[in-house]
């Protein structure tokens, strides 16, 4: 009897589940595009991207995950090589 409280459901606990993640990529109306020739793979844009959407591709160039990219354009602003261009999404 005294141990009943242990069976109470943990209603307020929400676990991280990527399957439930909203695809914030559909917010985007402008699209950042990496010029793979100009990109030197310095990684400046990685940390400043609000969505952590940028990682290296197989050739150590910046690669944007458009599932989560909201198209803010911060990556294009911080790129020292001006290798990221903002283009219309459509």
């Amino acid at each position: 009897m005294s141990e009943d409280w242990k069976n109470i459901e943990e209603g307020a606990v929400i676990k991280h589940d990527p399957k439930k993640s909203p695809k914030t990529g559909d917010w985007r109306y402008m699209k950042p595009k990496v010029d793979k020739k100009a990109c030197v793979g310095c990684g400046m844009c990685f940390g400043h991207c609000p969505e952590a959407a940028i990682d290296y591709d197989d050739e150590r160039k910046a690669d944007i995950d458009y599932d989560v990219c909201k198209g803010c354009g911060v990556c294009a602003t911080v790129c020292p090589q001006k290798a990221i261009k903002i283009v219309s999404s459509s």
Binding site: I14, K15, H16, D17, P18, K20, S21, P22, K23, T24, W27, R28, F46, G47, H48, C49, P50, E51, A52, A53, I54, D55, D65, D67, V68, K70, G71, C72, G73, V74, A76, T77, V78, I86
Partner: protein
């Protein structure tokens, strides 16, 4: 998705496009290898990272209310202490308690709870991301809003030039609690922020970081510009980078020729009205305040 960066806070959160808060959270949490427990005060970060049924957090996370970030962190730190006494946590294992709070939850509503937790010397790191207004509810003034800024509750117009009061000097309030480490940082300078967080994580007792976080909605600028505007805040001495450790002040970034405050103001819609005729005295007053604060800081700081 960059899985390295998304170790603690995953994408899928709904912060506005071009918001710097996730970069602050990731940079701070990246600075430690210890397990962390995050306490989050009501604010932009809380409402955007925990949209039911999704949580962007991959670490243990508690949200309780607006006014009690310090008290909640004190409770968590106390629990860890009690578990340690009962040998439920090994003696050598450090667990970091990190509070993330906005300026509303720190400067105003949560000040008493933060003050209490600092004074009782609980073992936690408090990180305030300062976007200079209550942005979660649409941009009302807070104690962190600078003089002359146009907000929803201090609108500029014929009768008003925006906020009439000066920003609260929170760093002085925090330092007055005799804590070991406090630092002012800026989201535009992530390596500096990371260094400060690393330093803070190595210590015990209360530690405090105040991080400037330009806000696209309130400050009114293009979503791509938060890094540039953050940099201007430091380059004009509006937001100097400095730290306080064991009674000593140190300035982390300085220039011989700081830019005039107009360079920072003209990038933002919230200060647009200051460039209309008749409001010159507001800019002059702001420049005076910036210069005075800088001089005071220079007097406190030791030269390396």
């Amino acid at each position: 998705m960059n899985t390295n960066l998304a170790k603690y806070l995953a994408p899928g959160h709904s912060t506005c496009a071009g918001c710097g808060i996730p970069a602050i959270v990731r940079t701070v949490l990246e600075a430690t290898k210890d397990p962390v427990i995050v306490v989050n005060v009501t604010g932009c970060l809380e409402v955007t990272s925990t949209l039911y049924p999704y949580s962007a957090w991959k670490v243990p996370y508690i949200h309780s209310a607006f006014e009690n970030g310090g008290a909640t962190a004190a409770g968590v730190a106390g629990t860890i202490k009690a578990f340690r006494r009962r040998n439920k946590i090994p003696a050598g294992k450090k667990i970091q308690v990190v509070v993330f709070a906005g300026d509303g939850g720190t400067y105003d509503i949560g000040l008493q709870s933060l003050s209490g937790a600092l004074e009782r010397q609980h073992d936690f790191l408090y990180v305030c991301y300062d976007n200079e207004a209550y942005m979660n509810t649409g941009g009302q003034r807070s104690g962190a809003t600078p003089y002359g800024a146009d907000t929803e509750t201090t609108p500029s117009g014929k009768q008003s030039f925006g906020k009439r009061e000066k920003r609260k000097d929170l760093m002085s309030i925090v330092v007055a609690h005799h804590l070991k480490y406090a630092a002012q940082a800026n989201v535009a300078y992530l390596p500096d922020l990371k260094k400060k967080a690393e330093k803070a994580f190595e210590m015990e007792g209360p530690r405090f970081l105040l991080v400037l976080q330009p806000c696209t909605n309130l400050w009114k600028y293009a979503t791509s510009e938060y890094v540039n505007i953050g940099k201007l805040a430091t380059e004009t001495n509006f937001w100097p980078l400095w730290e306080y450790l064991d009674g000593k002040y140190k300035i982390n970034w300085a220039t011989e020729k700081p830019k005039p405050i107009e360079e920072f103001l003209k990038t933002q819609g919230r200060f647009k009205h200051l460039f209309k005729p008749g409001n010159e005295h507001v800019i002059a007053e702001m420049q005076k305040e910036v210069d005075e604060n800088w001089r005071r800081l220079m007097n406190l700081a030791e030269v390396d």
